[in-house]
Symmetry: C2
Subunit: 427 residues, 2 copies
């Protein structure tokens, strides 16, 4: 067999397992050896789920591994010039954190609409903040030219081999923590994390399946695999905001194309359900992106993993606290536990109290009650009530609805369709 007739896919990929091993030796003392925790509820009766808890990593995400490796790999003369960065909040948090720890000045270029809490976090790490442009694209372009101008090192937020080598250290750790792993499911944004796991894990354990999961709102890698090259997409808003990549990373794409076992997409409501499950049952705080692997299992997208040992990568936990409340409510709606209905009542003394008493008798808990008088079309002796109640679970919710329909035949319930396809209109 001639060497060229059987092209070795690996030869195209410049990063080697040894680079990841070197990275681990480099960053070992600066990062958290994150725990692997067996799931108590997720996947129950279906497969054995384990979590690799990168939400407990320094700076709250796996990006710490990459940033730390980039900075520790720099020559002292480069370090003194500092770095200029732009990009996602997890990357910036990691770069500013390790920049401060390793005395490398970090210039951060942010778009005008950057959330106040994020900006605050970079400032806590003594980063030099510069605001430029309306969105991340503007800011990133400016970061490159600004970096040239001031003679600092520009560090791209994905597509760097030293970042991927850093991320891959998580895979090496994982293999020392669990003996039997049949599959790893990993969130995919621009693809660098899953690519790094492919290199680290498949090199040592070729039979381990590795899946990537994207949110349906930003199917960057799915599109790239379909078009056979990274292409620009316009992501829709998603609760898994850190997966909102415009284009797949080139290096990651090449690795994924060659070795990834499956790409899966999950819908918004399943991501919310997964988040609330991880929060309530597993007692861990994760961001939307990190919930995607669990969402894939819950949505029944991985029937072939029945009975297997499956590691879900909880990639990060950086979720805005005020969003947590909204996600909890959204998740409870998606689980059928929050029920909203509209009922027509006589505008007479006691009618409202009677309705609420009857709701309470069913064991449901009234969360809000808004009577509507002014906008009714019917006679003025009738009011319409918008009621939200909390139930224990879907079965209780169904019982509650049946019971209420008997008492108030006019009651109308709000419907959430879990299998609703993500709307792609407007693209």
């Amino acid at each position: 067999m001639e060497p060229d007739s059987a092209p070795d896919k690996i030869s195209k990929i410049k990063l080697k397992l040894q680079d990841i091993q070197d990275a681990l030796n480099r960053i070992r003392n600066e990062i958290v050896f994150t725990p692997v925790i067996e799931a108590k509820h997720v996947g129950k009766h279906f497969c054995n789920v384990f979590f690799k808890c990168e939400n407990l990593q320094n700076t709250g995400s796996f990006k710490a591994r990459g940033a730390c490796n980039v900075l520790l790999s720099m020559a002292p003369t480069d370090k003194s010039k500092g770095c200029t960065v732009s990009g996602g909040r997890n990357f910036l948090a990691a770069m500013t954190y390790y920049g401060y720890k390793q005395s490398v000045p970090i210039n951060v270029i942010l778009p005008r609409d950057c959330p106040i809490a994020d900006k605050h976090r970079y400032k806590e790490n003594y980063a030099i903040i510069k605001v430029h442009g309306n969105d991340l694209n503007d800011a990133s372009l400016h970061a490159l030219s600004y970096s040239d101008e001031i003679g600092s090192n520009y560090v791209h937020g994905s597509d760097r081999l030293d970042l991927i080598a850093g991320y891959g250290t998580m895979g090496l750790e994982l293999l020392t923590q669990l003996d039997k792993i049949d599959a790893i499911i990993c969130p995919v944004g621009c693809g660098s994390l899953v690519a790094s796991l492919v290199l680290a894990v498949k090199g040592l354990k070729p039979n381990c399946l590795i899946y990537g999961v994207e949110c349906a709102a930003a199917p960057t890698m799915t599109k790239a695999l379909h078009e056979k090259k990274p292409v620009m997409i316009t992501p829709n808003p998603t609760v898994a905001d850190s997966l909102s990549a415009f284009i797949a990373s080139n290096n990651a794409y090449n690795i994924i194309k060659a070795y990834l076992d499956r790409m899966i997409t999950v819908d918004e409501l399943w991501i919310s359900r997964a988040m609330i499950n991880i929060l309530e049952r597993e007692k861990l705080v994760v961001e939307g992106a990190a919930a995607c692997p669990v969402a894939a299992i819950m949505a029944g997208k991985t029937p072939e993993l029945r009975g297997k040992n499956v590691v879900c990568i909880l990639s990060g936990g950086n979720v805005n606290s005020t969003h947590v409340s909204r996600i909890i409510e959204r998740g409870m709606v998606a689980e059928g536990r929050l029920v909203r209905f509209k009922a027509t009542l006589p505008d007479a003394p006691g009618a409202v109290a009677r309705l609420l008493a009857k709701v309470t008798d069913t064991g449901a808990d009234v969360k809000s009650f808004v009577p509507e008088r002014s906008w009714m079309r019917k006679d003025i002796f009738t009011i319409s009530a918008n009621v939200v109640v909390e139930t224990a679970d879907e079965i209780h919710a169904t019982d509650f609805k049946d019971h209420l329909r008997d008492l108030y035949p006019s009651a109308r319930f709000a419907v959430v369709d879990l299998d609703e396809k993500h709307k792609l209109s407007g693209r």
Copy 2:
């Protein structure tokens, strides 16, 4: 020296270190060896905080260790008779979980007002549910007589040596996980958990300090130590609801009286601040009780621990999801991040838009805006607006307030007093 003139405190305590070691051997394969995680933010610049994560234990709390030990210690003939239990939700969750796993029928006696989600959880574990009485006291009394009636084993929810032996296994685990521990801070309800740690840890590492923390709303053990015996108290409502004990456990009291280094109480607002910190910065879900040790450090109650290695026992993570939203908001208020103010405006086109634009210019985010027209005492051309805004932190909030006062001298801000003593009136 005559034996009686130097009373050996240990001789009064029937439980020995060996009992805890036996318990660990008994339950080892049935419980989670919970991780110890170094805090990223809590205690920063003051001491090194580590978390023993019993929120990640089976059933979401340390009670799993006790319940498992009780059931595994029972004779087969007793097991077949089943158990009858009443008490706190963490204890009942643990008993029903291990009852099902070990094929011991569990009768649960609940008061009428038991939350629907809790009842649902016991049912998931196939417990036999019986509702009796208006509160936990009624239910507990009935549990004892009912148990006699049906010939099952009554298992008291605290004050059993086999429960305490089970809890103590956490201390033995901890000593294998961390080399250098200077102090352990543990939440205290009836006192069994901290008593078990005292026996387990002081037996092997006598110099390790052990502190107990109660919420000021239910100072059960503080009162007992003051009165030199367990006495009944009437707990006030608290976010640390699982610490709401009416009376200290006798066995626990005797151990604590003899060996505990300090008892500390913490106020509600500090517990909320601790919870939101653990959620936001440490990415772990804890219940109010579990946040108390962190609250004690944050409130500056442990100045003597500066520079020390301190383990905070995160005793459990069972917090109602709908409460999480409220706790986040309460915590943000306590941290000064949510600011509420009232301003008087002319009821003229554009006045509201101008106010909101000015707020937004400061970098603050408007969470709610409620105009008030009907109840004003002033002329009808004036409205009052109630506004809630989110800021990045206390410094930003102070800047925001100064700025707004300049623009709207009539603005009045809601005040939260963090050092406000817990109100004991009405007892």
